[in-house]
């Protein structure tokens, strides 16, 4: 790299590289706003955030697992289980909304427990273990619903509906839930003792062991914690449309992975991190919404969003390379 020659701080290339992703983000924002003023209306911005709430939550769980050095292909299953257990608890067992929500989280935790058993107990790589869980979890849903039919519950208690449809001072509850989780994840993963241990384990397991870190215990906790988080997403999904749609969690998987890795690309040392993930999700949400509002043909829209994704990422990574070469 030729960075030593070029110490000129104010060269346009430097500026672009230093603030690359921010600039891309802002540029798109302005572009969408110019194209369709609706884009910047409060309601629409709120829509973006609200529409991203579930993905934010799933991506948080994914961030945690990626920080342990693994990956979780079963996040969608945890979401499905969260939704299924809660809906069935209410519909078939007449539970109140709060106990039902707890049952949902418990259901989601089963997915994490299975992952933990496979990864920690049987020493299967997280990738293959969670792929196994994905297959098993999909099958279980189909068996349970006799093929994958949705379980609809239009009459669900208001308390449960409010998980997604209520609001506090005008802010949708799902946005509040996502925000609270972002704060919790930020504190836990980036600021807490426990989070530091997670990162150490993820980066160099053997050194973490020698340093006295109980890696297995942490790994189990991470899988369970992540799956419960995804189950929260499931509760929101179920409350949103007042039903459980089997296998619907899968739709979030690739976006969640993308968001986490966008976030890591934004970090000066390439670590997965909560705020980066959040930026990644919001970027994806903004692009989708902005393109929707541009009134493009849906095929063109899909292609554009893919191309934007690739180029924005290229910039983000170029920017990171630059920064680490400069030793920030």
């Amino acid at each position: 790299m030729d960075t030593f020659a070029n110490k000129n701080w104010l060269s346009p290339r430097k500026i672009l590289m230093r603030f690359g992703f921010l600039i891309v983000f802002a540029a798109f924002f302005l572009f969408f706003a110019a194209w369709n003023p609706v884009f910047v209306q409060g309601q629409n911005l709120l829509n973006i955030v609200e529409g991203s709430a579930i993905l934010i939550i799933i991506a948080l769980g994914m961030t945690l697992i990626v920080a342990t050095g693994g990956i979780d292909l079963s996040v969608g299953i945890a979401l499905d289980f969260g939704a299924a257990f809660a809906v069935v608890a209410m519909k078939s067992y007449g539970m109140g909304w709060f106990p039902a929500a707890c049952v949902g989280l418990l259901g989601g935790s089963l997915v994490g427990l299975l992952n933990a058993a496979l990864v920690v107990g049987l020493r299967i790589s997280p990738f293959l273990a969670t792929l196994g869980t994905f297959f098993i979890g999909s099958s279980v849903q189909r068996i349970f619903t006799h093929g994958g039919g949705p379980i609809s519950y239009r009459q669900m208690p208001d308390g449960f509906r409010n998980i997604a449809q209520g609001n506090l001072f005008g802010i949708p509850t799902e946005v509040i839930i996502a925000a609270v989780l972002v704060v919790i994840y930020y504190l836990v993963l980036e600021r807490s003792v426990w989070g530091r241990r997670v990162h150490a384990m993820g980066m160099q397991r053997s050194a973490a062991i020698v340093a006295g870190i109980r890696v297995n215990r942490i790994l189990i906790a991470c899988f369970v914690f992540a799956s419960i988080t995804c189950a929260v997403g499931g509760l929101i999904a179920a409350a949103n449309i007042r039903m459980f749609t089997p296998l619907s969690g899968f739709a979030y998987l690739l976006d969640a992975i993308a968001a986490v890795f966008i976030g890591a690309a934004l970090h000066p040392r390439g670590r997965p991190n909560v705020l980066g993930t959040l930026a990644g999700v919001l970027f994806l949400g903004m692009v989708t919404n902005g393109l929707n509002l541009m009134g493009l043909n849906f095929n063109t829209k899909d292609a554009l969003s893919g191309i934007i994704l690739v180029s924005a990422l290229a910039l983000a990574v170029a920017q990171r390379n630059m920064r680490s070469a400069d030793g920030d």
Binding site: V38, N47, G147, G149, R154, I241, P246, N292, N297, F298
Partner: protein, 301 residues
């Protein structure tokens, strides 16, 4: 009719997927009827992947079944049908016309498309803007017919404008995706600028559409769609539901009919290329309740 029998026959039943009520019902109808008629079922499921569904026909051929009932699918199945035909295994399709099948059992998709077009236009008072969820018009024949005829009818209503671009389902039949897209749509078309949302080929996305309307408190928009499964008819039956019209199919009956057609074929009867099974137009909450009962889904109070 009574002497129809599949005694001693092994019938392969291939279904593209079972997530959807319609698909599952057709599949259950076909398999249970085959068994009722004394036949043995070998079932395969494509898991909603058209290619897997197509490949599954190879498995059936290899198993040496006596006939195949093939439910849904796209053009990928045609070479399989051709091969089965060449191996003297007759194929009976459901909702997928093909030159290589003995018979295709289906709803009258033309009628469905035109009917929902008329109902929607009426409900709109013959004027206004409608947004449509499409995306499968080009890839699935049934969707092409239904959406195409809906558009054809709307040509008679020059005051109705179809909002461009059309909306695309990200995945077939995904309500949550439809809900989100509707929310975006609503912020783009404030109160008074949008009058209807139509789902072009089926109706699971309409659940998400209705949800979005309720969340945003928009009562100025009506919803129409096709299929009329129990979930959606329950919503239609609710008081003041925005979901005003639908055309219900009888998927279980379609599956059963396909199975009976197999038996008829083995009994030496000549079958027409297509067997149409009646659909039930559903206009408004009262008809929804009636159709719900008529189709054997129970009773809505």
């Amino acid at each position: 009719q009574d002497q129809l029998s599949l005694e001693g026959k092994t019938i392969g039943v291939a279904v593209v997927g079972t997530q959807h009520f319609w698909d599952r019902e057709a599949f259950n109808g076909a398999t249970s009827k085959v068994e009722d008629l004394g036949g043995t079922v070998v079932a395969v499921d494509g898991g909603r992947d058209n290619q897997v569904h197509a490949d599954n026909h190879d498995v059936l051929m290899n198993r040496g079944v006596d006939a195949v009932i093939s439910i849904l699918g796209d053009g990928s199945v045609d070479p399989k049908f051709e091969a089965l035909q060449a191996a003297d295994i007759p194929v009976f399709s459901v909702d997928h016309p093909s030159p290589y099948v003995v018979n295709n059992t289906t709803s009258d998709n033309y009628y469905m498309g035109t009917t929902i077009g008329r109902y929607m236009a009426d409900a709109m008072g013959g004027e206004g803007k409608v947004a449509v969820f499409n995306a499968f018009e080009n890839s699935l024949r049934i969707c092409g017919i239904r959406t195409g005829l809906w558009k054809y009818v709307l040509q008679d209503y020059p005051e109705i404008e179809i909002i461009q671009p059309e909306l695309a389902e990200e995945f077939a039949n995904a309500p949550e995706d439809a809900r989100r897209q509707t929310l975006d749509l609503l912020s783009q078309y404030p109160e008074g600028e949008l009058d209807a949302i139509h789902v072009g080929c089926w109706d699971q996305p309409a659940i998400g559409v209705v949800q979005a309307l309720e969340e945003t408190g928009r009562t100025d928009i009506i919803v129409t769609a096709l299929d009329g499964g129990p979930d959606t008819m329950e919503i239609m039956a609710e008081e003041g539901s925005p979901f005003v019209a639908n055309v219900a199919q009888q998927p279980r009956l379609i599956g059963q009919t396909a199975a009976e057609n197999v038996a008829r074929y083995f009994a030496g009867e000549t079958l027409l290329p297509q067997t149409y099974v009646d659909v039930v137009p559903v206009n408004g909450p009262e008809e929804a309740k009636a159709a719900y009962k008529e189709l054997g889904y129970g009773e809505i109070k």
